[in-house]
């Protein structure tokens, strides 16, 4: 059986990261990051928000999109959980409801990559739909 991982093994990952980060800082500023906030109150967690958050973290890295994925509380849309708030750089935040891995995939491919709105925005009368 192999050795159990310990914090010492983290060093290698840190070194890789430092290299990657210094490249990143040279190419753009932190405000240009996509922000993903997954609602994780009781309602969100019970509906599967953790799976959605794991999905965003893994997939955004795999697809080479620089983003910050964090948690937020309940926004009062308990009926539509899991909900995710996406803020593209320089734009107003958009909240998507009923997000599962498939929907999250759609959001990454269409909205985050191309700025193209995806079905499932809440509240339904979200004003920027008309502006677009």
């Amino acid at each position: 059986m192999g050795q159990v991982k310990s914090l010492a093994d983290l060093r290698k990952i840190k070194e890789n990261l430092q290299e990657k980060m210094s490249l990143r800082e040279k190419s753009n500023n932190p405000e240009s990051l996509v922000q993903v906030k997954v609602a994780m109150a009781t309602c969100g967690i019970a509906s599967g928000a953790k799976t959605v958050m794991d999905f965003f973290i893994d997939e955004l890295e795999k697809r080479n999109i620089q983003a910050v994925v964090t948690q937020t509380g309940c926004m009062g849309y308990c009926f539509a959980e899991p909900t995710v708030e996406i803020t593209l750089p320089g734009q107003a935040p958009v909240v998507y409801g009923y997000v599962d891995s498939k929907k999250a995939d759609d959001i990454i491919e269409k909205y985050i990559k191309n700025g193209e709105l995806v079905d499932g925005i809440i509240p339904v009368n979200y004003e920027t739909i008309e502006k677009k």
Binding site: L7, I13, Q18, A41, T42
Partner: protein, 182 residues
């Protein structure tokens, strides 16, 4: 809630809302006493005794976005269902401590679930909060402390996907070593 790690994530969010800078999560398994204890303690703003005595009531919440608060009531229900109990201790300005006792072998005890993922996501989403996780079994104990992780990372954030992945594996392997009940 499907498993206990989700309850932990949920209750820990209360600590985040209470502006805690330290969240201590402890799981103690005692096969001899057939006990499975989860303790979540923070140094947040706490609450008055009157509120603390009522928060396990689903119709009591400090939220304004909705009128119900189910986090603690659901945990209480699950604990009591296994012959256990829920205890809430809080002091204003000092913090809050939640202790949930479960019957370890009770059929109604939900599985622990993905505790490693839960702890790491909590730490990654709240970079300025120190998350301390201790898991004790009869085989041994494991302690995960984000202060130690941050010292090792020297400024690189825990929220990076590669770090999250590594930490999850590390916690899982260590928990496997102490033979957690799951």
């Amino acid at each position: 809630m499907k498993d206990l790690s989700m309850h932990i994530m949920d209750i820990a969010q209360n600590s985040v809302s209470a502006h805690a800078s330290l969240i201590r999560i402890e799981i103690i398994e005692q096969a001899a006493k057939d006990s499975f204890r989860i303790m979540i303690e923070d140094n947040g703003k706490g609450m008055p005794a009157e509120l603390a005595s009522k928060v396990a009531d689903p119709y009591v919440t400090t939220r304004t976005t909705r009128k119900v608060g189910l986090g603690l009531p659901l945990l209480k229900q699950n604990a009591e269902r296994t012959g256990g109990s829920l205890k809430i201790e809080s002091e204003e300005g000092k913090g809050t401590k939640i202790t949930a006792d479960f019957g370890l072998s009770n059929f109604d005890r939900p599985p622990l679930g993905d505790i490693a993922g839960t702890i790491v996501l909590l730490a990654a989403a709240n970079l300025n909060i120190r998350v301390l996780y201790k898991h004790q079994t009869e085989t041994g104990e494991y302690i995960f402390d984000t202060d130690e992780v941050n010292a090792m990372l020297e400024g690189m954030p825990i929220s990076e996907a590669s770090v999250i992945r590594f930490l999850k594996e590390m916690i899982n392997e260590n928990l496997h070593e102490i033979k957690i009940a799951g």
